[in-house]
Symmetry: C2
Subunit: 212 residues, 2 copies
């Protein structure tokens, strides 16, 4: 069966976004530092239509994260336009007419909505819970894995339900001092974790775990 995996950039003090998040500052104060390691990679830049960039020890991990994935699960918070009912002119996501996913995306939502297709990406809104979203994503992914696109609350829910197979933390040498914690509310406490890969560069330490 395809794996449920996620990878996420998290500060050394455990935050996935800095303090004082807002619409103008969705990553919070200092939160952009979490992603500097990836934005400088040629592999990431190419996948986002940008030129240049470097190749380093993070490159194979970045390429793995872009390949072998057949579907994405994300929370309503990450899709945006909420919270609350969708309204008459519903939010179309942050990504414009060609979202970068190019695969089925399942959005955990409290309010029903017809699927939305933009470019090669179809967003399906799932209102009957995380297990249903995972079952639908697995079916859509075929041989591919399912990845959690975010946010941290969605990762926490899947960890706490012991449904995650693999987790990779990308830890840049940054202390944000506040913000949104990756692990909060006891998420995943007591899960059986096995480190299966550690890769370090001056910019980031990657640690990949087999879970459960």
């Amino acid at each position: 069966m395809s794996k449920l995996r996620f990878e996420i950039s998290v500060s050394l003090d455990g935050y996935v976004a800095g303090p004082n998040q807002s619409e103008e500052s969705p990553l919070g104060e200092g939160g952009e530092q979490l992603h500097e390691w990836v934005i400088k990679l040629a592999a990431w830049r190419e996948s986002h239509g940008r030129e240049g960039g470097e190749v380093n020890a993070s490159t194979p991990l970045m390429e793995e994260s872009l390949s072998g994935v057949g579907a994405v699960i994300m929370g309503r918070g990450m899709f945006g336009g909420g919270p609350g009912p969708w309204g008459e002119d519903p939010w179309q996501g942050w990504w414009g007419k060609e979202p970068p996913f190019h695969m089925p995306v399942f959005v955990l939502a409290h309010h029903e909505r017809e699927p939305l297709t933009l470019g090669e990406t179809t967003f399906t809104f799932v209102t009957d819970g995380i297990e249903s979203a995972l079952a639908q994503a697995r079916e859509a992914a075929g041989e591919g894995d399912v990845t959690i696109g975010g946010g941290a609350d969605v990762a926490q829910q899947y960890l706490s339900a012991n449904l995650v197979d693999q987790m990779q933390l990308n830890i840049p040498p940054v202390l944000l001092g506040g913000g949104t914690r990756l692990f909060d509310g006891g998420a995943g406490a007591g899960l059986d974790l096995e480190p299966i890969l550690v890769v370090d560069t001056p910019d980031v330490t990657h640690v990949r775990y087999r879970v459960g």
Copy 2:
């Protein structure tokens, strides 16, 4: 000048002790898992008068942490017997008549007390702040480094004052779900960190940072 360094075992979700700490359970629920990697090392066992144990990639780091240190700083909480005035029959520490430090130890305290010598360890109680404790520890350490023995609150104070030169986190693959956080209250936010060593074993991931 000698370095101020500390190393600490911390769960993947950022806790140095588990939930519900008490006198009977000083590491909190599950907290003993943070230290399993070190207790199985022959180098640690020998230094604590125990036999057996194994040699693995953590061994050189353990040996480094035992050598080159000339003085220790710890908080009153770690020394114990508090909080509050020392009283007529003052607490002598948790370690019996031969504490394992074998070097000068400086205890950050709010209440004055004469130095206490037990075996090869002299505890000096410092009531005029962390910078004074560091100056005294540096002088006592001579060529050696000064290390922070704990707790997390003491490490946080020195980090926030930008007085730490090197920090090593030992991260076993454990999610405790609650307890005492290593990084709390914004400690060290914005410090300049540089990863200088990453060592991984199936039991623990070590990441050492140059600070400031």
